[in-house]
C-alpha cells in the first residue's frame, strides 16, 4: 500500500507524458485535477489488465488489482492517507464505470456494494454515492445491486443493547437526504428504475419482530422518497406498505399488555383518557397512565412509527397532502376499515384530516358516510364504517358543527328509508337490522358529544329539530331498546334537556336497563362496542393527536349548566353501572360495595376496563359501562356482524 501511495504522491517517470497526452481534461493546473487524472489512468489500466481469464493475468497486474480492491475494502479502518486514497479511487472509478466488467471485476464490485455508508466520512460518502449512481446508469446489470445497496443503507448500524450509536443519530438526516437524493437521480436517469426499487423495498421492508430503531429508521428514509416524481410513481405503494406494518403491529398489541401495569402498581389512575392532571388537581396523571404501555414492544414500535408517519404528513405541502389523502383513503378502505381490532393505526387518518379540517376533515366524514349508505358495499365494511363515522364526528374537534349536522341528516335519512322499507315487509329477526341499529347508535353517540354545540347555532338547531327522531324512535324496530343502554340513556338525558325528544320518550324507558331484546341482540350478535377513535394511548405520538381530540370529560352537555361539576362526573362514574361483582378478585379495587358516592369521587376510580372486559362473562352481564367513550376493547369477531338478511 505504501508503494501505491508513493506512486501517486510522486508521479512515476511516464506521468509527464501521460499528463501531456490528456485529451479530455480541462487542462487546469491544479494539482488535484492532475492527480485525479493520473489516478483515473491508473485505475483504467488496472481494470483493463485483469479483464480476462484469471490464469491469463500477469502476476504484477493481479497484484495491482488486489491492492486496489484492498483499498476499497471498508471493513478495515483507514487513516487519513488511506481515506484520501480511497476517495481518489472512488472518483476515478466513477469516471471509469464503463470499463468495469461484472464478471472480471467481481471482487471490486463486491467491495463497493458491501459498503455501509454510515461509517464513512461525508466526502467519501458523496464520492461513493456518485459512483453508485453512475454504475446504475451505465448498464442494467448493476441497477438492481445499486438499488439494493442503497436500500440496505436505510438502516443504521446497531451496536450493543440494540441501540443506535449517538453519532449515527446525529448524521441521520444528512445520510437520508443523500440516499434519497441518489435514488432520485437514478430514477431520473433510468426512468424505469422505480419499478425495481419498489420490489426491492417490498422485500427489504422491516418485519414485525425487527429491531425498533431499524424499523423506524427504514420507514423514515422510505417516506423521504415520497416526493416529486418518485412519490408519484411509487408513493402509493410505499404508503400501503407502511400502513400494513402499522396495522400488523397494532393487532399484536393486546389489552392485557396495556393494562398490565395498573393493577401491579395498585394505583388507580384517572380514566385513561385524562392523561394530564384533572381540574380537581388530583395529581394523578402523566406518570400513572403513561407507564401503561411500557412493557410492550409492539406498542413502542408502533408509537415510534406513528411519530415518523405524522412528521412526514406534517411536512407535506398542500398539493402533495391532498394526493396523499386520496391514497390514504384507498388504503384505509382496503385494509384498516376491515381490521376490527385496530386500536391506533387508524389515527393516521385522524391526523391527516386535522391538517386541513375544511377539506380533508369533511372529506373523510363524507367518504365514510358513503360507504355506510352504499348498498353495494359488503356488510362488514358498512358496519365498520358506521362505527368510524360515529367515533370520528364525536372525537374530532376540528369538525365544524354544520358538517356534523349534514352527516347526521344523511344518516338519519338513511335510517328513515330503512324503516320505510321495513314497514312494507314482515317483521324479520333482529340480526338483520344490525346496520340500522348501529347507525342509530352512532347518531345518538355523536349527539351526546355534539348536541350542546349544535344548539348554539340557531340554523343548525332548527335543522336538527326537523329531523324525524320521533318517527325513528317510535318505530317498531325500537332502536332505543336495542342500542347500548348507556348511550341511549345519556342521549335521552341530553335530548330531553334540549327539548329534542320530549314528545315521545316514554317515562318507563328512562334509564333503561338492558332489555331482553338488547341482551339477545348483544349476546348472540352483539352490536359491537367498537369506537375506533377512543382515546389514544401511545405516549410519544400522542402530541400529534391530543390537540384535536375531544375527551368526554371536556364535553359540555346540555344539562351541565344545571348541575355542578361533581355531579356531572359522578354521573359518568356512576357506580351502579360499574358492575362490581363481575370483577376478578385479584384486581384491587377500592370501590366499596356500599357505593359511597363521595368516597368514590375522591378515589377517582378509573373506569378502565378491568379484566371484566377481557372476559366474556362481562359481555353477557352487561359489564359496567358508563359512557362508552372510554376505552373499550372491541372483542367480538367480525364474523358476528355477518348479516344473513337483506338491508336497504
Amino acid at each position: 500500500k505504501t508503494l501505491e501511495t508513493s506512486r501517486l504522491a510522486s508521479p512515476p517517470p511516464g506521468a509527464e507524458a501521460m499528463v501531456a497526452e490528456l485529451r479530455r481534461d480541462d487542462m487546469a493546473e491544479e494539482a488535484g485535477t492532475i492527480r485525479d487524472s493520473v489516478a483515473f489512468r491508473l485505475v483504467e489500466r488496472v481494470l483493463q489488465s485483469v479483464r480476462m481469464e484469471p490464469f491469463l493475468i500477469a502476476p504484477y497486474d493481479l497484484e495491482q488489482y488486489r491492492m486496489m480492491v484492498g483499498t476499497l475494502d471498508t471493513s478495515r479502518t483507514k487513516n487519513r492517507d488511506d481515506e484520501a486514497l480511497y476517495v481518489t479511487y472512488l472518483k476515478a472509478l466513477s469516471e471509469a464505470v464503463s470499463k468495469i466488467d461484472i464478471t472480471y471485476h467481481h471482487s471490486l464490485l463486491n467491495n463497493i456494494f458491501a459498503v455501509r455508508i454510515w461509517y464513512l466520512q461525508r466526502d467519501t460518502m458523496v464520492a461513493l454515492l456518485d459512483l453508485i449512481t453512475r454504475l446504475a446508469a451505465v448498464a442494467d446489470q448493476y441497477l438492481r445491486e445499486c438499488l439494493q445497496m442503497l436500500v440496505n443503507n436505510f438502516t443504521p448500524p446497531i451496536v450493543e443493547r440494540n441501540e443506535v450509536p449517538t453519532w449515527a443519530v446525529s448524521r441521520k438526516k444528512d445520510i437520508f437526504s443523500h440516499l434519497c437524493g441518489s435514488l432520485k437521480t437514478i430514477s431520473d436517469t433510468v426512468p424505469l428504475a422505480p419499478r425495481m426499487l419498489r420490489d426491492i423495498i417490498d422485500r427489504s421492508m422491516p418485519k414485525l419482530f425487527d429491531n425498533k430503531a431499524k424499523m423506524i429508521s427504514f420507514v423514515e428514509c422510505m417516506l423521504g422518497l415520497d416526493t416529486d416524481r418518485m412519490g408519484d410513481l411509487i408513493g402509493a405503494i410505499l404508503l400501503a406498505k407502511v400502513v400494513d406494518l402499522l396495522t400488523e403491529l397494532d393487532v399484536n398489541i393486546t389489552w392485557e399488555d396495556i393494562l398490565q401495569e395498573e393493577h401491579d402498581k395498585g394505583i388507580f389512575e384517572m380514566e385513561l383518557e385524562d392523561l394530564d392532571a384533572d381540574d380537581d388537581g388530583d395529581g394523578f396523571g402523566q406518570a400513572g397512565t403513561k407507564v401503561c404501555l411500557g412493557g410492550n414492544a409492539c406498542a413502542e414500535k408502533l408509537d415510534g412509527l406513528m411519530v415518523v408517519v405524522c412528521e412526514h404528513l406534517k411536512s407535506l405541502d398542500r398539493q402533495r397532502l391532498y394526493k396523499e389523502f386520496v391514497i390514504l383513503k384507498t388504503i384505509f378502505r382496503a385494509s384498516l376499515l376491515r381490521v376490527h381490532r385496530s386500536k391506533f393505526a387508524q389515527f393516521i387518518m385522524f391526523y391527516t384530516c386535522s391538517l386541513d379540517p375544511k377539506t380533508l376533515g369533511e372529506g373523510f366524514a363524507v367518504f365514510l358516510t358513503d360507504i355506510v349508505t352504499e348498498k353495494k358495499e359488503d356488510p362488514i365494511s358498512r358496519m365498520s364504517a358506521v362505527s368510524y363515522v360515529g367515533s370520528y364526528l364525536s372525537r374530532a374537534r376540528f369538525i365544524s358543527a354544520d358538517t356534523v349536522v349534514t352527516i347526521l341528516k344523511k344518516l338519519v335519512d338513511w335510517c328513515v328509508d330503512y324503516c320505510d322499507h321495513q314497514s312494507k315487509r314482515e317483521a324479520t329477526p333482529i340480526p338483520n337490522h344490525q346496520l340500522f341499529y348501529a347507525t342509530c347508535q352512532a347518531v345518538m353517540y355523536v349527539l351526546c358529544f355534539r348536541l350542546r354545540s349544535i344548539m348554539d347555532y340557531p340554523n343548525l338547531k332548527s335543522d336538527l329539530f326537523h329531523m324525524p327522531f320521533g318517527f325513528l324512535f317510535r318505530h317498531r324496530l325500537e332502536p332505543l331498546k336495542v342500542c347500548l343502554p348507556s348511550i341511549v340513556n345519556e342521549f335521552l338525558r341530553q335530548a330531553k334537556d334540549a327539548g329534542l325528544v320530549a314528545a315521545f320518550v316514554d317515562p318507563a324507558a328512562e334509564d333503561a336497563i338492558e332489555s331482553d331484546l338488547s341482551r339477545t341482540f348483544g349476546g348472540i350478535n352483539r352490536l359491537d362496542m367498537f369506537f375506533p377513535f377512543d382515546p389514544y394511548l401511545l405516549k410519544e405520538s400522542d402530541r400529534y393527536i391530543r390537540p384535536n381530540f375531544e375527551f368526554w370529560s371536556m364535553v359540555k352537555t346540555t344539562y351541565s349548566d344545571d348541575t355542578d361539576d361533581d355531579d356531572d362526573e359522578l354521573e359518568d362514574l356512576d357506580a351502579p353501572e360499574m358492575n362490581v361483582g363481575s370483577l376478578d378478585d385479584h384486581v384491587e379495587i377500592d370501590i366499596n360495595s356500599d357505593d359511597d358516592d363521595l368516597e368514590y369521587s375522591m378515589n377517582k376510580m378509573s373506569i378502565t376496563p378491568h379484566h371484566s372486559f377481557l372476559h366474556q362473562m362481562a359481555m353477557d352481564s352487561d359489564g359496567g359501562l358508563s359512557m362508552p367513550a372510554r376505552i373499550r376493547p372491541s372483542t367480538s369477531p367480525p364474523s358476528r356482524w355477518a348479516m344473513s338478511g337483506e338491508s336497504p
Partner: protein, 233 residues
C-alpha cells in the same frame, strides 16, 4: 423515431371468471401488465395497446383453474431498437466519460467515452458540465439537450437499456444538426425519413400467443435470457 412501429397481433387472453362482468376491462388490464417490459414474442417493448374483440367465442381452459380464453386482435405500439438505428433522446446526466440520455421519456441510454468523437471536449464548469465540439463551438451537448445517436447495443433483459454511439455521421445535438447538417436538415424539412433496412421488419405477429394473469396457476414466467444484440456479434 425509427424504433417505433405498430404491430397487430392475434392473441388469446385468459381471464379469471371473477372478471366475467367486464371482460373488456379485464383484457385491458391483463395486457397492461406487459407495458414497458420487453417481450420476446413481440420483439419489442409494448408501449400502448388497443384491443378489438373477435366474435363471442370464448374457450374455457380445462383443468384445475377454469380461466376462459378471449380471442382478441390487438393493435400495439412497440419500441424495438436495433443496432445501427438512429434514436433521439434527452440528455439527463453528463460525465467526463459518459453521456446519459432518456429516450421517449422511459428508456435509458448511455453513450460511453469511447463512442464520443474526439472533437467533443468536456467542460466541467457550468451546470452539470457540457460537451463542446472543437470544430464548432456552437455545437454543445449539455443537460436537457436533445441528441441523435446511433444504437450500438440493446440490453433487453430488464429495462431495455440502450448503449449508443455518437460516432456515426449525422449524430449529435439536434438543434445544431438542424442548422448545420445539410442532410439532416433536408430530412426533417421534407418530412421523410431515409429508409433503413433492418434485420427484422414485420407487420403482423400471427398465431395464438397467450397472456396469463399473474396469479394464474399456469407458469407464465418466461425464461430470462440475456439478449444483447451488439454490432457485429
Amino acid at each position: 423515431m425509427e424504433a417505433l412501429r405498430e404491430a397487430t397481433a392475434e392473441l388469446t387472453v385468459y381471464v379469471h371468471p371473477s372478471n366475467a362482468a367486464d371482460v373488456r376491462l379485464a383484457v385491458s388490464r391483463q395486457l397492461s401488465t406487459l407495458l414497458f417490459s420487453y417481450e420476446d414474442r413481440f420483439d419489442g417493448v409494448l408501449l400502448s395497446h388497443e384491443v378489438e374483440f373477435e366474435g363471442d367465442n370464448e374457450d374455457v381452459l380445462d383443468g384445475l383453474v377454469p380461466y376462459f380464453g378471449v380471442p382478441v386482435t390487438a393493435n400495439m405500439l412497440l419500441f424495438s431498437p436495433q443496432p445501427e438505428m438512429i434514436l433521439e433522446g434527452k440528455v439527463e446526466m453528463l460525465g467526463k466519460e459518459s453521456i446519459h440520455a432518456i429516450v421517449l421519456g422511459v428508456f435509458s441510454a448511455a453513450i460511453m467515452a469511447d463512442d464520443i468523437p474526439e472533437m467533443f471536449k468536456f467542460k466541467r464548469r457550468g451546470h452539470g458540465g457540457k460537451f463542446i465540439s472543437q470544430s464548432d463551438k456552437r455545437h454543445v451537448i449539455k443537460k436537457g439537450s436533445m441528441i441523435r445517436f446511433s444504437v450500438k447495443r440493446v440490453d433487453t433483459e430488464m429495462n431495455c437499456h440502450i448503449t449508443g454511439s455518437l460516432m456515426p455521421p449525422h449524430t449529435g445535438c439536434m438543434r445544431w444538426l438542424s442548422v448545420h447538417d445539410a442532410e439532416y436538415a433536408s430530412e426533417i424539412s421534407s418530412g421523410k425519413r431515409k429508409p433503413r433496412d433492418h434485420t427484422k421488419s414485420e407487420q403482423k405477429v400471427q398465431g395464438r400467443t397467450t397472456a396469463n394473469r399473474e396469479d394464474s396457476m399456469v407458469n407464465s414466467e418466461r425464461p430470462r435470457k440475456s439478449r444483447k444484440r451488439a454490432v457485429g456479434e
